[in-house]
Amino acid sequence: MALDSKVPEGPIKDKWTDYKNHINLVNPANKRHIDIIVVGTGLAGGSAAATLAELGYNVKAFAYQDSPRRAHSIAAQGGINAAKNYQGDGDSNYRLFYDTVKGGDYRSREANVHRLAEVSGNIIDQCVAQGVPFARDYGGLLDNRSFGGVLVSRTFYAKGQTGQQLLLGAYSAMNRQIARGKIEMFNRHEMLDVVKIGGKARGIIARNLITGEIERHSAHAVVIATGGYGNVYFLSTNAMGSNATAAWKIHKKGAYFANPCFTQIHPTCIPRSGDYQSKLTLMSESLRNDGRIWVPAKIEDAKAIQQGKLKPTDIAEADRDYYLERRYPAFGNLVPRDVASRAAKERCDAGYGVNATGEAVYLDFASAIERYGKEQAKIHNITNATPEKIYELGQKIVEEKYGNLFQMYEKIVDENPYKTPMMIYPATHYTMGGVWVDYNLMTTVEGLYCIGEANFSDHGANRLGASALMQGLADGYFVLPYTIGDYLSHDIRTGKIPTNTPEFDEVEKEVKDRIDFFINNKGTKSVDYFHKKLGKVMWDKVGMSRNAQGLTEAMAEIKAIREEFWKEVKVPGSANELNPELEKAGRVADFLELGELFAKDALNRAESCGGHFREESVELDGEQKGEAKRDDVNFAYVAAWEYKGEPADAVLHKEELEFKDIELKQRSYK
């Protein structure tokens, strides 16, 4: 099947407006006769469910947690972007569009990104109206901060809990519709497959996680909003339950999977401390606004620190290497995530890491505390302030800005980050790849949509900070409600979709057979055993930097782990009860397939690009020496994979990317 992105004609700034003016609308009386399934109730699914219900459709929403409020979006710390130009620092829709395309290393679809920038301002208005308590300045107006990869201050935030507050906003909008009976909420339910009738998505098979019952649900359209697949690495900043199951199952039923190798490694996470570790914790990127990143300049100092013989505060200013400020003077500590992550790895690989494992760098707030302290002393007219007083005043400001993050760090590491610099290291965080969708957010299966982190469209090969929340809410509140209406306008006479059809029978049987297999398999190894094994291959060979040989090996190794899994996996308990091991088994089975496709995609992409760093593709000379080398002649495309059984046999379809409004250039942050 040829890929048709369905991007409307016309100048980029008019595309979305023209599109909205010409789509078919569904008469409000007819919306009552149309059912929509929304799987996932994070920012994307929650906002979509609320808005579709508000418009009058009957919505059935699904989530594996016990409440939509617990979706993983809750964990987002730093903020959400919007081109409001409240700071008067030159921001505009165009600039947000430009930064996002450039930040994504020119691998996203221009038209989608422009639309995202256009609706971004509206998101803030909407959320404020819903009672989201964004940070305010003393004049009562909204406050902003900046994030990596940009030179303006356009990030709106609610302390270090922006995702929580935005999600609670969407959740409250959902609650209003649940109370009206327009959303039927299925908590603790997991979608295990999609049902197609006549080529169109018409329902899902879900498992009630409390009773184990397998349920059939039909609808005129199905929306997947199930988040990212970073847990394919086992250790990531994602929630433990985050998974690829819904996305992978629809891939197996005809939805193409795009750019699986574009995964974001976030530069500021708490380093891992041992083999028992179950997940990694993010320290928000907003910390880089004030924290300076460094390692010792002298290798002997680094060694002494690793052996616990020196403390960071023992290293004189002149003996510190603020490597981001050194390498990228224009952006300094605020370079994008891929650049910051690779630079940290480069220093640690060279032996300059600062913890026992040599896999950590410092994030230091001492100069920020001093700077703020001096400022405060001035403001409060304190003359002759002692260094202690300055420190105290400065610490208060830092505490106000990042207090909860500092507290979180101290709880985990057992060190006071106000006194000694934080240790950070890159970790898997966000997946830019995902289900391929067209401009309407529809997958290659008719009537099957995919929004939020689960789709691939807006972030290219790298995501700038504070853009995921923006995309989730844009998709859910402002984009999907239009585009899905155009599709559903053809369904007003269809009537209820029955579930007692052969199509439902067949998919339900597949789902039940798989569960029966897990419960009855007489294996010897736990699900986690396989998940950890997969994660190790992924991190070692498909991690922060990759090469052809490692990727080829990884594909074979993952296949072998998968084969062992299907022989040896052991799942205690029964199918007809709450059974967390059974839930995990299904998810890991899907990761074991996705992981191989991920490696295959990375192998195919013989260029370095955003979050994908191919060791064979590096700038050899000039100003950019040592930086990642993109290849626009051969790789300015989206790799959309079609399922053909084994992941190794997946067929590549290319969506050529066109850049008409932004010139393709080497990305420079120097």
């Binding site: 809750i74 964990a75 404020v128 109206a129 308590p133 940070a135 305010r136 809990q161 409390i210 041992g274």
Partner: protein, 248 residues
């Protein structure tokens, strides 16, 4: 560290539960409490037993999913944290640790350490929102200035993660801290004023219907709340409630 764990096991909501003892060895003090539970579960799976079911997801103190009543305290012996943020350095080699689910009539046990917190959901459905369309045709966000103080206070109330520790720790199983936090957030913001009276009446009515007890100002909830939600929110809810009823 080597530890003895006394854990509440209960097959499902209708079964009778009981305490069962387990041993774990080689626990590092850097582990989180839930990682220690993972170690136990891996051990149980390997020996063919059913692992202990407990709720968790984000493992960084924000989703509100994890629970656990540890040695008689909601979220265990540390302050201002959830169970996933509790670290084993809080315990000593040889300790016996008692682990139970939240106990409250309104939170029935589903299995082992997992309870059903749907009562919280229904309270939110009853009014935990501002009735504004999600159309995006709202006024510009800065056309409604809100004092930093009010915004900060609303934010503090809005920080509640809906974990239920306040209920679990209260001798009356009162949900007033949770409901007070929600009511306060909207009561403090101008956007929330229009339906303030209906909101507080409906949420309080639903709270009573769910079988939560009454607040007798013991303050245990505030002490155990991982997000430091203040008792002021209960007072504010009471004021809002009286105001709503005076207005009729």
């Amino acid at each position: 560290m080597n530890l003895t764990l006394r854990i509440w096991r209960q097959k499902d909501s209708s079964a009778k539960g009981k305490m069962v003892d387990y041993k774990v060895t080689d626990i590092s003090e850097h582990m989180s409490f839930l990682e220690m539970m993972d170690v136990l579960n891996e051990q149980l799976v390997n020996s063919g037993e059913e692992p202990v079911a407990f709720d968790h997801d984000c493992r960084e103190g924000i989703c509100g999913m994890c629970s656990l009543y540890i040695n008689g305290e909601a979220h265990g012996p540390d302050r201002g944290i959830t169970t996933c943020q509790l670290h084993m350095r809080m315990f000593k080699d040889g300790d016996t640790i008692t682990i139970e689910p939240w106990r409250a009539a309104a939170f029935p046990v589903i299995k082992d350490l997992i309870v059903d917190r749907m009562a919280f959901e229904r309270i939110q459905h009853a009014g935990g929102y501002i009735s504004v369309n999600t159309s995006g045709n709202t006024q510009d966000a800065n056309s409604l200035p809100i004092s930093k103080h009010a915004a900060d206070e609303a934010m503090d109330a809005a920080t509640c993660i809906g974990c239920g520790a306040c209920v679990a720790t209260c001798k009356n199983s009162s949900a007033m801290l949770f409901v007070g936090a929600k009511v306060s957030q909207y009561a403090l913001l101008p956007q929330g004023q229009v339906e303030a009276a209906d909101r507080v009446r409906n949420m309080v009515a639903q709270m009573d219907l769910e079988g939560f007890g009454n607040c007798t100002n013991t303050g245990a909830c505030e002490i155990e709340c991982p997000k430091g939600i203040s008792l002021d929110n209960i007072a504010r809810m009471n004021r809002e409630f009286i105001k709503a009823n005076v207005k009729g």
